[in-house]
Every structure is written in structure tokens, then in C-alpha cells.
Amino acid sequence: MENSNKKEVRLMKGNEALAEAAIRAGIKAYFGYPITPQSEILEYFTEQAPKRNFTVLQAESEVASINMIYGAAGAGARVMTSSSSPGVSLMQEGISYIATAELPCLIVNITRGGPGLGTIQPSQGDYFQSVKGGGHGDYKLIVLAPSSVQEMADFVFEGFKLAEKYRNPALILADGALGQMMEKLVLPEEGSLPHVTPDWATIGKTKDRERNVITSLHIQPEKMEAVNHHLQEKYKAMEQEVRFEEYFMDDAEIVFVAFGLSARICQKAVDIVREKGIKAGLIRPITLFPFPKQRIADAAQNAAGFMVVEMNAGQMVEDVQLAVNGKCPVYFKGRMGGMIPTPEEIAVELEAKFIHHEEEV
């Protein structure tokens, strides 16, 4: 007999796991535009929508998608969109409006190498765009960085939970490799994330209440400043949601900091150098905003130094430097343009900096 509590284990592509999780999270609608390496998300939704009671719409552009999200989220529905780097750039004006109007929703960026049209290969080059605003004005997204297919699914639930708790857009920042690779995962349970239509939603003004208005416009500067103060207080409160993971940090003297795919590669690099007797460890930020700055600051008290590994020219390294605050050296190892570093080359870099004390040329 089938055990009803049996976990549903599947072998899936990251993009498909994410889409399946979103359906199980009860999305009401998805709006998106094709772009590699994330088109499977839209394809999966278009295939499933008629059978599973949600709306999917292939929009005419990412500009349209994000503004459809604005409308649908403003109408109180649980909705999401996804894209890859150039498409997410196009969405930035809309994301700024959504953040200011405080509409919960989920945005997914399966990042590819840039700048420009770049390459379809994986990258982490959109870190700054994701955590420092991206669009105009002072706003923050809740940013989650999965590093496995399991987390591609889990963070959809996490993202919606946090987005709805704070009335704020959440962003899943993954890279093309996580979107494309297949792994075993346990699928989240359908219907386990209840949703109630919020009282601020524009669903039709009944006699017993004032009209609801979704806007990001506050023409009086005093009012706009008050809105900004409110948002900043909210972003402060979000700091308590910080999430990170550690690997061999108990006795670590040299600390890797890496997120997403880079963190998985760094785990392997830790194993390699540990075999040589080098006490390395890894801090992996799971939330990129809020950033685990306190954990990094604590680690800096006793560490010989840090090595930040990213698939970009050095973006998160700036936040690590801020947290380390000059307590010890912070080195950077990066690959760009869709190239993925190997554990071996990271290990060599670590030895060069910390054992052979080679300086940058």
C-alpha cells in the first residue's frame, strides 16, 4: 500500500523543479517572456496550466511581464515571473514600482554571462543588480540564492512566504547551471502554503470600505520621505530573516565566502585544501539581502583571511569587505563571461595567496 506521507522524490532540471514548486505553492498566475537559460520555466507552466488551475501568459516582453505582475499582485494574487539577465534588466522600472507600492511577488533571475547580450552560459554577474536596488530609488528585494535543485524548489515557498510577510518582492537569484542541471529532489507538498487575499488588494470597492489604491506616487516630498522611512524600517526588520550555511567553520583559519553554484564548488575546494592540512572553511550566504554580515564580522575576529569566490568580476566581495572591516585580508577569485571556476583552480588560488603569499600583479 502507498504510504500517504511518502516523500515525492523526483529527478528534475532546476528550472522545472522551480516551476513545479510554484504550482504546488498555489500560484494564481505566471507572466513571462522566453530567454535562455530559463525558458523551461515558461514551457513547463504553459504545459501544466490547463490541468492545474492557474493562469500562464507569454507576454510581449519582460517590460509587459513585470507590469502584469504589478497588476495581478495589486489585485491580491500570488504571482511570479522569471527571466534571465537582459530580461531582468528590462524589468527594473517595474520592480522599483512594485517595491514602492509594496506588492508581494516572486521574481526569478536565472543569470547568464554579461554584460550586454553576453552569453547563455551561467554567471553571477547580477549580484549588484539584485541586492543594491537594480532599478531607481532606494528599495530592497529579498534575495534568495539556491545552490541545488532542491533549493530551486524550496526557495519558491520561502520566497513567497517572505514576500507576503513583508509585502515586498522576493527574488530568486540562481545561475544558468542551476537552472539546467538535473538532480534528485523532494518536491514540496501541494497546498501547504495557504494564501488569503490581503485587505489592501484592488478587487472591487464594496460599500463598507474606502477604495483601495495601489500606487508608488507621492508627489509631496514630505510624504515621499515618510514612505521612504517606512520602507527603510521594513528593510531593517527584514534583517532578522538572514540565512546562511557553514562548512568546516569550527576551526577554520581561512574563510571562503561564496553563494549559489560557487559555494558548491568552494565546498570541494575546502575538501582539497583540508587534505593538505590547510584549515579552510566556507560561509555560504543563502539570503543575499539580508546579507550575513554579522556572521562574517564574527569570523573575521579570528581568521587569517578571506577568499571570496564568484562567477563575476567581484561583486559580493565588496559586501564581505564591508563586514570584515579591515580586520584581515580579503582576496577574490572570479571567473566571468559564463566560465565556471574549478575546485582545483580555487585551491591553487588559495594556496597562492595564503601559503605562498603571492600578491596580485
Partner: protein, 263 residues
């Protein structure tokens, strides 16, 4: 003592409940206020205030939600029909309308306009064409007339440089997704009556799920045109109507005969 003279008066006209008490901020003589009122009268008469969601644009009517007493969203410049699509897709049983100026709908938002109608979204799009960018201080619009002087066409609109006035309403009437397309005005009481009739049909058609209803309102901008309100009404008749003739452009059940003139 005489009885209060108001006691003997009969109410023949009043503000609908679907308008708030906030005084319009529009310039004297501007058509936006009349357009707002007519739409809201229709919402009241149809008894659908509790089922109607409006989307305001970026433009002079950005604050439409200050006046229209229904649930409203304020969309990014040009994206009102995308936001309206998002609303309608998750609330298919509600009445959804967008309200946009010519810069919003026919310049920066052209792609959204065309694709919203092409999908036949079951919404009403109200398009206020005043042939100028009112909000930003009177720059040239896609619908500005040839020779029209604006702050960015100081020598008059020159078609060889910047193209002809865009008759987007005729354009979208070609799309199978368009169900009802008409052009009206608010410059005379009679024009307002006709507009109201068209708006009423357009709201009612939403229940049929047959496609997009699109109503252009040819309007004025006394401030942007640098005219007094009366002269601006005359200018509409003499200059706007030859280019933007009033009437039905696509009527349910009748074959499309879009205007081919391009004077």
C-alpha cells in the same frame, strides 16, 4: 419668514457617488475631468462600483485615483494595459478599465497597447488624445498634428523628420482581438452623451468575453496648446476632427471598414 428656497428645488443633476469629493486638479477647460465623470457615471448607472478596477496612467491623469471612487492602480508610464491584463487575468469576473493619454498609450506603451488588444483582453481601454504631452509641459505627442507647434516641435511638426500623426485607434481596429472600437469627444454636451452611450456598451460587453473595447476620446489641452478653453474647443473641431473623425470604427457584428484617409 419665507421658506428655504432650496426646499422647492428638484435635483436634476449631481455628482455620482462613484466620484470622490476631491476637486479636480485639471487646468480650466481640460477634457480629462469630463472624461472621468462620464466613465464614473456609467459605473454608477450600471451598479458595478464594487466590481470595477481602474488603472491610471502616467500623464496628467496620473491622479485619476484621487477622483474615481473605485479600486484603482497607478501603472508605470505606458504599461496601464499590461497592469490591467494582470488584474483581469486573476479577476476574470470583474470589470477592468485602463485610462491613458496619447504619450502613454501610443508612444512608450505602443507594444503593450497592440498586444493587449491582439490578445483580446476583456478590458476597456480609454484613450484620451489631446495631441500633446500635457503633464511634462507641452511636448510633441505621437498624435500631434503636422505643423503643430509644441515645446519640442517649435517650428511645427515636420512629418519627414518625425513621422505623421499616429492613428493608433484605426490601427488596433484591424486586430481580431478588438471587439468594439470608437472615437468620441467631450467638447459639447451632445458629444458627451454619445461618449457615455459608447462607454456603457463597452462596460457591458466585458461580460461577453469577446475581446477588447477601445474608446478614444479626442480632447484638448488649453495649457499645452496655449489657448483659452473656448478657442481650444474650436481648434478641436477645425484641426483634430479632420485627422481624427468621430464615430464607430469597429462595431460588434459588423465587418471592419477602417478609415483609409490620412490627411
Amino acid at each position: 419668514m419665507e421658506a428655504n428656497i432650496l426646499d422647492n428645488l428638484e435635483v436634476v443633476y449631481q455628482k455620482p457617488e462613484t466620484l470622490t469629493d476631491t476637486p479636480f486638479h485639471y487646468c480650466p477647460g481640460c477634457g480629462h475631468g469630463v472624461a472621468h465623470r462620464v466613465i464614473m457615471e456609467v459605473v454608477e448607472e450600471l451598479g458595478i462600483q464594487d466590481q470595477t478596477i481602474g488603472v491610471a496612467p502616467v500623464g496628467c491623469s496620473v491622479f485619476a485615483y484621487h477622483y474615481m471612487n473605485v479600486d484603482m492602480q497607478e501603472a508605470a508610464h505606458g504599461r496601464a494595459s499590461a497592469a490591467a491584463t494582470g488584474i483581469k487575468r486573476v479577476l476574470p469576473d470583474k470589470y477592468v478599465f485602463s485610462y491613458q493619454g496619447d504619450g502613454d498609450l501610443a508612444a512608450i506603451g505602443t507594444a503593450e497597447t497592440i498586444h493587449t488588444v491582439n490578445r483580446g483582453e476583456n478590458i476597456l481601454m480609454v484613450f484620451v488624445n489631446n495631441a500633446i504631452y500635457g503633464m511634462t509641459g507641452g511636448q510633441m505627442a505621437p498624435t500631434s498634428l503636422c505643423g503643430q507647434v509644441t515645446s519640442t516641435s517649435p517650428y511645427g511638426r515636420e512629418a519627414t523628420q518625425i513621422g505623421f500623426p499616429l492613428k493608433i485607434t484605426e490601427l488596433i481596429a484591424q486586430l481580431p482581438g478588438a471587439y468594439f472600437v470608437a472615437r468620441h469627444a467631450v467638447h459639447t454636451p451632445n458629444a458627451v452623451r454619445k461618449l457615455k452611450k459608447a462607454l456603457k456598451s463597452a462596460f457591458e460587453y466585458q461580460k461577453l468575453n469577446k475581446g477588447t473595447c477601445f474608446i478614444e476620446i479626442v480632447s484638448n489641452c488649453p495649457s499645452g496648446w496655449k489657448m483659452n478653453p473656448l478657442d481650444s474647443q474650436k481648434w478641436i473641431e477645425e484641426n483634430m476632427f479632420p485627422m481624427y473623425p468621430l464615430g464607430d470604427i469597429k462595431v460588434p457584428g459588423k465587418s471592419t471598414t477602417p478609415s483609409t484617409e490620412n490627411n
